[in-house]
Structure formats: structure tokens, C-alpha cells
Amino acid sequence: MEALVQVRDLDMAFPAGSARGQPVLLHVLHKLSFDIGPGETLGLVGESGSGKSTTGRILVGLTEPTGGSVKLFGRSITGPGRRASLAAVRARLQFVFQDPHAALDPRLRVGHSIAEPIDIAGTHSRRERNDRVRELLELVGLPRDSADRFPHEFSGGQRQRIVIARALALAPDFVVCDEPVSALDVSMQAQIINLLMDLQQRMGLSYLFIAHDLAVVRAVAQRVAVMYAGTIVESARREALYAQPQHPYTRALLDAVPRPDPGRARPPVVGGEVPSLLAPPAGCRFHTRCPHVMARCRSEVPLLRETAPGRQTACHLLDGAPPA
């Protein structure tokens, strides 16, 4: 299966002021690599400061990375020729962000917002455009008369449907979804998750699905990458990752999620906080909180390496030993 999205050694650093005359860099991404195949969903999960949203913004061309390469549909959108490549892949690429309120112009009728990508592309006649808007509304389960209404007449869940309809206007192949359901109530969340899955089935979409909620990611992504402080610490097929997490951080993250099961024996809580990216810890970035920390974790950066077919983990504990 050829990768639709190919990310290699992605680096991202922002200048964040200076200290003692030296510029200080905020290293938000460090040597990130992953692929996404056609019709596949990769879940990117992590806490704040993990760099997952920055990754999403780079993939849709909103931010240029400071290092590494990104290939979309076989074209590199990093380095020289970035602009031309982005223009060429633009129509096949869309995004859905967390806040459906901010994503829609309150003064524009919904039909207008949905048709925006079509109007920009200038590919449809007036009639084709209006037919397409109606088709899209139906696709995302909104009443046909929604086109003439304004965003404030819709609930949060319905607004996210509108945003999704707009994202699908030009029939993209790849959609980056950054926390698309985290602003929604649980009962609305399930509706939108089901909608995204149905659309994937019908249209063969690929998703990069970014979320902090591990359970939501499990429901939608076939493969999951766990990020911590700008690095991927573990990536695996969903069944393996959730049933047998290999990285101590993945395990801690899973353990920390409260379950709707009052009888559950609560595992010990991992201490500490996410380190500052201005001065990330040497060695493994998780070593300051890791319950299994060893001497070498403090100095030597663990590399993301294959521990089983289709499974990669960056942890010294797995060195030499067969995968747990």
C-alpha cells in the first residue's frame, strides 16, 4: 500500500525570545516520522504541548516546518517548490478544527460557507454549485433548508456538521481533524464520530485524527501514534496499542483515564508534569516522570524502533528484551 502521506524527521522550533544574548528556541517537534495510507485513519494522541496540533497544521500547509520532509500524494510540500506543490494538492486536502463556532463566519449563510472552497476553486457552474451544497447537507445529515440559515441557528453538533460539509465540498482524499469532537457534548460527540466513519467508508477518505481523548481515538483510528513533548513515543495498530501498551507513557496515559466503572482498582497515578519545551530534559523526555527510569534514560535519547511488525516504540526498556 503506497502512503498517501509520508512524514520524515519532522522538526519544528519557534524562536521564543532570548536569554543572555542567545536566541532561545521552543522545540515543539523533534524527528517525527509516520505514514498514512489511502482510506486509513492515523490517530495522533497526546497531552497539551505534545506537538500534535502543530503536526496537523504542517500537514495542511498552514505552517512550514524547520526541518524534515512531508510528502502528500507523492509531492513534497516542504523545501523548494513548496508553494507549487501545495497549490497542486490543495483540492485533495482539507481540515476540520476543534471549534465550530470560530470556523464559521457568523454573517455568512451556511450555504455560502459550505460553498466557499468551490467558489475559490471556481470549478462549478452556479447550478452545479447549489446542487453540490444540497448534496453535502444531505451527506452530513442536515435539513435541506439549512443553506439559507445562519450559523447561530444551529447547535454545536450541527455546526460541526456544517464544517465537515465544507471540508468535503471539493471531495478531498485526506482530511486533518484536530480535536473535532472535543468541544461537543458526549451525545453529540457520538453522532459526529459516526458521521466521520460513515463518510470515510463512502468516500474512501484518509484521516489524520488528532485528539487528547484516548477513547475517542480508539473509536476512529486504525493506527495510533502517541506523542509526548514533541516526539512520538509509540505507534502501533490500535488493538495492540490499547491492549498492550509498550511505552511507560502510553501505559500511564491509559491508566490515568477515568473509567465508567466504579469498581475498578485504580492504578498508581504518574507524578510530575510535562517538561518545558524551552529546556527539554536530556535523554528520554519522559524520564522525569517515568516509574521505570534507568540511568541511561537520563542521557541517551531512545530511538523509535520496530519492536514487532507494524509496531514502533522509543524506550530503552525494550532494548535487547523481546517486546513485552
Binding site: 453529540m188 464520530i193 466513519m197 473509536a219 490515568a256 466504579p262 475498578r264
Partner: protein
């Protein structure tokens, strides 16, 4: 049975809007016993926070009113008590922690100033004693290096640390009831686990009752002894935590649980409750969940069901589910 610490009886809160008075919570009744931990769970518009605020009468004056109901605490009705009495009760007997610590903390005061303020107001401590006590409190909420941290300004602290400071302020006067409104919602999951653990420990150490408000059934399951489920301004289910999660009886609670993605077990399509959460001023005849309920009968869509006991301390507001015990 001992008298409850706080008793809500038919509490109803209305807000003024362009279109007149809108009922945000409608006839809420439940008790909180000493040392009890009551979880209140619901989605937006359920009225869970409005209910919590009514315990301290913290709604904006002039634009809110209580057409009926009582909140009984220490022989007083908090909905009608003089403002002077309430000021004494707030912070001393009943304290509150909110979702967003940044908006509750004063950015130009140090942590020490903010904790001392409460101590000096309610306990009349002098500056030096208050400072000593503030450091003790930061220790109590497991802030490392408390003696140094006490002089920090809020912006220097992480989200988790700020929430710890808020908790320190809340417990400063050893309240009998701590109201925690989405205390971990803005936090990362590992920090959430730390804060929940802290609250659990403090609750035991200080012997206080806790009312925990959350949209997250997982948080509620791991924290509460008893759970109140709210929907569109009404209590729809009230049960001991084990009973609620083992056998939810209201179709809304069932739907909510079924629509939660899980971390264990098979991966199947989620159940999605159809329709949407109603606006507070939306006129809905009968049960407010009726328009979305797959079990609704004609009676559900015309008559307001009552919250009735089905077994033991398990109460549910659903006509079909309470028929055997006197429901409609």
C-alpha cells in the same frame, strides 16, 4: 438517619433573557449528607452548574430569581438568607473550586496573598500566621517546594499547580462541603488523575462532603458515592454509584453510557442519541428527553414524569420505568 448537611428541595432557578424569564433548573431535590460525595453529571444546558451556584447564591443578581424551592443548610434557607450570612458561609462552611483557576485567581497577587485573604477574613489570622498557614496548605495540596512557591504569581504556575492553589484556598477554613465544578476539565489526563487523587485524599483527611460536577461519567464513576444525572434542567436519575453504572434506568443515562467510546472491549459503532440538546427556553411538552427517547410513549410526550424511587435509593424520572412504583 442524621439530618443531611445540605438539603435541596424543589430548587428552581430562572434567568432573565430577551424573551422573559427562562427556567434553567426546574424542581431539583436531593440531599448531601456529612462526608458524602455526590457527583452531578450532565451535558451542557443540564443545569448542573446552575444548581451548584444556587448553594452559594452566586448567580448574577437582578437577572436571576428563585421562584420556588429551598436550600437548607444549618437551619437556614440559603436562597433567602441575608447576604451577610451568606458571606460568612461562603468559603468557611461551603467552598467552591471552578474549572478555570486562572479566572478565579487574581493575577496581580501572589499565592500567599490569595490564600491569606480567606484566612484573615474568616479566621482573623495575623499576616505572619496566615503566611505560615498558607505554606502548610500548599504542602497539603502536594505543591513541591511550598515555601518558595508561596510567593509566586499565578501566571508562573502550570494549570495543574493553579488548580492545586485553588483547592488550597477552598480548604483553608476546613469547609464542611466542597463544591468542585469541573475541576479537572481543563487539565491534561495525567494531571487530572493527580488532582482527583488529591481531592480524594483531602476529602478523607478533612472529613468534608464533596459535590463534584462533571460532564465526564468516568470522573464521576471514580469519585462519587452517589450520582445525580441531570438533563435539560431536571434531575433524571439519582442513584448510588454502583447501581447507576451497573444498571442505569433512565433512557438518557443508558444512551449516554452507550455513546461513550470505551478503552476496553470490542470496537463497535457507537450508539448516538438522536436529536440535539434542547435550548433552556424550548417548550417541550412532557418529558424533556422525550423528543430523543427511543422508548417514548404517548404519556411521555404529554405529561411531566416525576422523580420516583424504583428500588432502595435509586430514583428515576421516567414514566415507563417507574410504572411499577406509581409512575404515570
Amino acid at each position: 438517619m442524621a439530618a443531611p448537611l445540605v438539603s435541596l428541595d424543589d430548587v428552581t432557578v430562572q434567568f432573565r433573557t430577551d424573551r422573559g424569564w427562562t427556567t434553567a433548573v426546574d424542581g431539583i431535590s436531593f440531599d448531601i449528607a456529612e462526608r458524602d460525595c455526590v457527583g452531578v453529571v450532565g451535558e451542557s444546558g443540564s443545569g448542573k452548574s446552575v444548581t451548584a451556584l444556587s448553594l452559594l447564591r452566586l448567580h448574577a443578581r437582578g437577572t436571576s430569581r428563585f421562584p420556588r424551592g429551598q436550600v437548607r443548610f444549618g437551619g437556614q434557607d440559603l436562597l433567602t438568607a441575608p447576604e451577610r450570612d451568606l458571606r460568612r458561609i461562603r468559603g468557611r462552611d461551603i467552598a467552591m473550586v471552578f474549572q478555570d483557576p486562572m479566572s478565579s485567581l487574581n493575577p496581580v497577587l501572589t499565592v500567599c496573598d490569595q490564600i491569606s485573604e480567606t484566612l484573615r477574613l474568616h479566621q482573623g489570622l495575623d499576616r505572619a500566621t496566615a503566611r505560615r498557614r498558607a505554606i502548610e496548605l500548599l504542602d497539603l495540596v502536594r505543591i513541591p517546594d511550598a515555601a518558595r512557591r508561596v510567593d509566586d504569581y499565578p501566571h508562573r504556575l502550570s494549570g495543574g499547580m493553579r488548580q492545586r492553589v485553588m483547592i488550597a484556598i477552598a480548604i483553608a477554613c476546613r469547609p464542611r462541603l466542597l463544591i468542585a465544578d469541573e475541576p479537572t476539565t481543563a487539565l491534561d489526563v495525567t494531571i487530572q488523575a493527580q488532582i482527583l487523587e488529591l481531592l480524594r485524599e483531602l476529602r478523607t483527611e478533612l472529613g468534608m462532603a464533596v459535590m463534584l460536577i462533571s460532564h465526564d461519567l468516568g470522573v464521576i464513576a471514580e469519585f462519587a458515592d452517589r450520582v445525580i444525572v441531570m438533563y435539560a434542567g431536571r434531575v433524571v436519575e439519582d442513584a448510588p454509584v454502583d447501581a447507576l453504572f451497573r444498571s442505569p434506568r433512565h433512557p438518557y443515562t443508558e444512551g449516554l453510557m452507550a455513546s461513550m467510546p470505551a478503552l476496553e472491549g470490542g470496537i463497535t459503532r457507537l450508539y448516538a442519541i438522536p436529536g440535539r440538546i434542547p435550548d433552556p427556553d424550548e417548550a417541550i411538552a412532557g418529558c424533556r428527553f422525550g423528543p430523543r427517547c427511543r422508548h417514548a410513549e404517548a404519556i411521555c410526550r404529554v405529561a411531566v414524569p416525576e422523580l420516583l424511587a424504583i428500588e432502595g435509593r435509586h430514583r428515576v424520572r421516567c414514566a415507563p420505568r417507574t410504572r411499577a412504583t406509581g409512575g404515570l
